[in-house]
Amino acid sequence: MMSSNPVFRVTTKILFAPIIVYGLYVQFHGDFGPGGGFQAGVIIAAAFILYGLVFGMVALRKLAPPRIVALFMAIGVMIYGGVGVVSLLNGGNYLDYNALDHHDPAHGQHLGILLVELGVGVTVTSVMMVLFFAFAGYGDPKAEDDGGQG
């Protein structure tokens, strides 16, 4: 197990939080530089995958239970769709961000893009983690007993 090697263990513990902070930075600065939901989602998922590779799948399943991660997959898509529905309720077309803020359409666009990218980021993070759980835990009888993904 890789966690017996002190270099891996210490480096992962030090790097885990900065990777997630960098992922959040990329997510929210997608308006001003390269970035956005997809890249941020992959970066945050990479932090968790690194943790899983070094400390083992059991520790990763305790940190991020697979059922909750799979739930976030759907929550991300619903955030995206929900922004469109809020636009509908406010009187505009579906996914028309101008309707999100009647006094200042540009601010409505900002808000709409922020929420939509958030939805995309949440979806991509959880899907990448679900893929990793499914591939790395395949054929592992403990994964099923744990109520892993079931």
Partner: protein, 128 residues
């Protein structure tokens, strides 16, 4: 002829990469190698589209209002962002199918899978 190659060389090299990817998918019988070849083909295709959007003397399409730059066309970038993520989704599903095929038939080589299917009676044995 030579000025055609000089002005279109990027497209031609990308076509070569696409053909190598297509050859891997068609000729190799190992399923994982086919998936890798498909991914090579897709990446070459993305290069082709991005090359279409490039403008000489242009820069990345992030607008700086103070300076008067020429910006490269942002539309292919958006298309390809979508395509990259869809590509990885396809690869993941293909790999999941490969794992299950390996479980069911004991191998990931196409000819051995066909032989195992014929042995099970799932398909007619082809006399080649």
């Amino acid at each position: 002829m030579f000025d055609f190659i000089a002005s279109h060389w990027n497209y031609l090299i990308v076509v070569v990469l696409m053909l190598i990817g297509l050859y891997i998918v068609m000729s190799r019988q190992n399923l994982v190698k086919k998936l890798v070849g498909l991914s090579i083909f897709q990446t070459a295709l993305f290069l082709f589209y991005i090359t279409l959007g490039r403008i000489d003397g242009g820069t990345a399409p992030i607008i700086n209002p103070d300076v008067d730059y020429v910006y490269s066309n942002p539309l292919p970038h958006v298309l390809i962002l979508t395509a990259i993520v869809v590509g990885v989704a396809t690869t993941a599903l293909g790999l999941a199918l490969t794992l299950r095929i390996n479980d069911a038939f004991g191998s990931i080589e196409e000819d051995e899978i066909l032989a195992a299917k014929a042995e099970d009676g799932l398909i007619e044995e082809k006399k080649s």
